[in-house]
């Protein structure tokens, strides 16, 4: 039983990484822009966060560095896509390729570095309850902050005026522009917030989730997060649920190995990627369902006055 509690805890932790990035991409996509550069931003943020913690010993500064790196790269992407009207897919892809190269380049001297002793957390009293404690209440604060972020985001998107403006920009930039909203600046802000959250997820990977730096260590989580926004039909609560499900799939491989299932490890490592493909196929099977939920201007350029 104890091992299942730990498996559950690990699932929440793995899901948190995906959830943070996917929530960022959700905000990004609500404004009508797809950023395929998530993987690249997460990689750069991972090395930025890791290096910061190596030098300062402060995890929270590491997270901030990751967010800064993500926002900076997203800003560059945003200027190209929003002001220079470049193709969103190609530009995002360029960001992913650049991020992979740049993070490997910047991180070359950090491959053998180690972080100080990783902190352990436990919620007072609740963390000591048998089974439930280790399953739920001994997580890194980021796990709970992510849950709070989902609630905050639901309120922002569906209950606040600013959220309504953001959604209107994504649904119909022409109308938002006609009403006098600065569509391009709103889009840039959304893209940069998305980048910052992808950056936070990247830094969480290298600082907490697997505390080390290896080239390409994000290993497709940015792409899975992109797929998650589609699975969740752009709804924050569903993003969180989906992220935990995928966190579970990721953890399942370690669990199956742990209980001695005789399957080559490579097939278990494939699981999250195969699961992404399968779920994507199942969800996309009904194009109308996607079309209804997708921000209407997603992926389409908007250039006022053209």
């Amino acid at each position: 039983m104890e091992s299942y509690a730990l498996l559950f805890a690990a699932t929440l932790n793995a899901g948190t990484v995906l959830a943070i990035a996917a929530l960022g991409l959700l905000i990004n996509e609500k404004s009508g822009i797809v950023n395929l550069g998530a993987e690249g931003m997460m990689l750069c943020a991972a090395i930025a966060g890791f290096a910061t913690v190596v030098h300062t010993g402060n995890d929270w500064l590491g997270f901030a560095a990751g967010m800064g790196a993500g926002a900076l790269l997203a800003g560059a992407f945003g200027v190209l896509v929003i002001w220079l009207n470049t193709n969103q897919y190609a530009t995002g892809l360029a960001l992913s390729l650049f991020g992979a190269g740049f993070s490997a380049f910047a991180g070359i001297n950090y491959v053998r570095e180690k972080l100080p002793e990783r902190p352990h957390f436990s919620v007072p009293f609740l963390g000591d309850i048998p089974l439930i404690g280790p399953a739920l209440f001994r997580q890194h604060p980021m796990v709970y902050l992510t849950m709070a972020l989902v609630i905050g985001l639901i309120w922002f998107l569906y209950r606040s005026r600013a959220g309504l403006v953001l959604r209107s920009v994504g649904e119909s930039p022409e109308s938002a522009h006609a009403l006098g909203y600065p569509v391009r600046r709103i889009r840039l802000a959304a893209v940069m917030v998305g980048g910052a959250l992808c950056g936070l997820a990247g830094a969480y990977i290298s600082v907490i989730y697997t505390p080390l730096w290896v080239e390409g260590m994000v290993s497709g989580k940015g792409w899975i997060a992109l797929a998650l926004t589609t699975f969740a039909t752009w709804r924050p609560a569903r993003v969180l649920l989906g992220a935990y499900l995928f966190g579970g799939v990721t953890m399942l491989q370690f669990h199956l190995q742990g209980i001695g299932v005789q399957v080559p490890s490579q097939f278990l490592t494939m699981l999250p990627y195969l699961a992404t493909i399968v779920v994507l196929a199942l969800i996309s099977r009904n194009p109308a369902w996607i079309r209804i939920n997708m921000p209407a201007s997603l992926g389409k350029p908007f250039y006022p006055g053209s």
């Binding site: 892809l93 992979a100 053209s306």
Partner: protein
């Protein structure tokens, strides 16, 4: 500040000039980077653009690396021209290499030289199967081909890893994760003595010619591209979008698989976990920088190959990490996309006062 003004016609000048401007900007950024790292920028420039063409041997090595890049990019051009976003060429390359390697492993002392043909065909088939999965999921389930093809890269890497750690591991290989070295007869024939350039280069150049004919001289090639440019017009003309999707993915998958076969039965000579070298991703840049045009891609493949060799030389001569290659490749694509804006738009500088004074 400045504002963009739509041109009545896309600029012919800038569609050729943009890659050159992008290269120039990338070189300037590169030289600044070298200076910032305390290295002589002129030396850095020489390592990337002069050393790879200095000697016949170096030139040969340049061609060795340009070959897979060009082969993959030719296929990707068909995809991107028909607005199919296959970004998983790396995975199709790996599975092509696995299929080709599987055939090469069957060879023994009595095998005939014709096995090379079988190896190449197996590679093409492997790449087609892998890309076909993406086409199937897009066609039957409407699943986004960007995400599916990319996810399949990770799966392909795991398939290769399983084989070289498991059933195909060389029993006499001191437990290293690699297959046994292929028999010499499986080696792709080389063009000349003293250079590693193989007939793969000829195949790539013939492929470029074939692509040119297909794109610009056949009805099928025309139909293939109309769907990418104007989906509604294609529907009206009765061109099948499903057919275009399958053609695009099978052609690019086959090309990537062929490149995998050429690599694994050429310079590598065995299956190892290091078969995936990022050519599938770099070829995306080759395709865009070459304007998705067969002739342009020949040049951009050589350029990208220079980046690879330059990165290796920067490591051995200047003590800089090899990953510099990836930085420059990414930068080039970034700057290219920015410069491409000039094709459709004219840059107009406006004085801030004039804007304020305007009614």
């Amino acid at each position: 500040m400045f504002k963009l003004e739509a041109r009545p016609q896309p600029s012919k000048f800038w569609s050729m000039g943009s890659p050159l401007l992008a290269l120039a900007i990338t070189v300037v950024i590169g030289m600044v980077l070298f200076a910032a790292l305390g290295k002589d920028p002129a030396k850095g420039l020489a390592i990337f653009f002069w050393e790879p063409i200095k000697t016949p041997y170096a030139l040969g090595e340049l061609m060795v690396k340009a070959t897979p890049l060009l082969v993959i990019a030719l296929g990707l051009a068909v995809c991107f021209r028909s607005n199919v976003w296959n970004i998983g060429a790396e995975g199709q390359f790996v599975i092509g290499a696995v299929f080709a390697g599987g055939v090469a492993l069957l060879a023994d002392k009595t095998t005939d030289g014709w096995i090379v043909i079988a190896i190449l065909l197996a590679g093409i088939f492997g790449g087609m199967v892998w890309a076909g999965l993406t086409a199937l999921l897009r066609d039957k389930f409407n699943a986004n081909e960007i995400l599916v093809s990319l996810m399949l890269v990770y799966v392909a890497d795991m398939v290769l890893s399983y084989l070289v750690y498991g059933p195909w591991k060389d029993p006499a290989g001191y437990n290293f994760p690699q297959s046994k070295t292929f028999e010499a007869i499986t080696q792709i024939p080389r063009l000349m003595q003293g250079s590693r350039v193989s007939i793969g280069l000829l195949i790539a150049l013939l492929g470029a010619l074939g692509l040119w004919v297909f794109l610009f001289r056949t009805r099928a090639g025309f139909a293939q591209q109309v769907g990418g440019l104007a989906p509604a017009a294609a529907r009206y003309a009765g061109f099948s979008s499903r057919r275009a999707l399958w053609t695009a993915l099978l052609v690019s998958g086959g090309a990537a698989g062929l490149a995998g076969a050429l690599e694994v039965a050429g310079p590598i000579g065995q299956l190892t976990p290091y078969v995936p070298a990022g050519y599938g991703f770099a070829a995306i840049i080759v395709a865009f920088v070459g304007r998705l045009h067969p002739v342009g891609m020949v040049f951009s493949a050589v350029l990208m190959s220079m980046f690879y060799i330059g990165g290796e030389l920067a490591q051995s001569r200047l003590g800089l990490p090899k990953s510099l290659t990836g930085v420059f490749q990414g930068l080039l694509l970034f700057t290219l996309l920015a410069c491409d804006t000039l094709i459709a738009y004219r840059l107009r500088f406006t004085s801030p006062l004039a804007v304020k004074g305007a009614p």
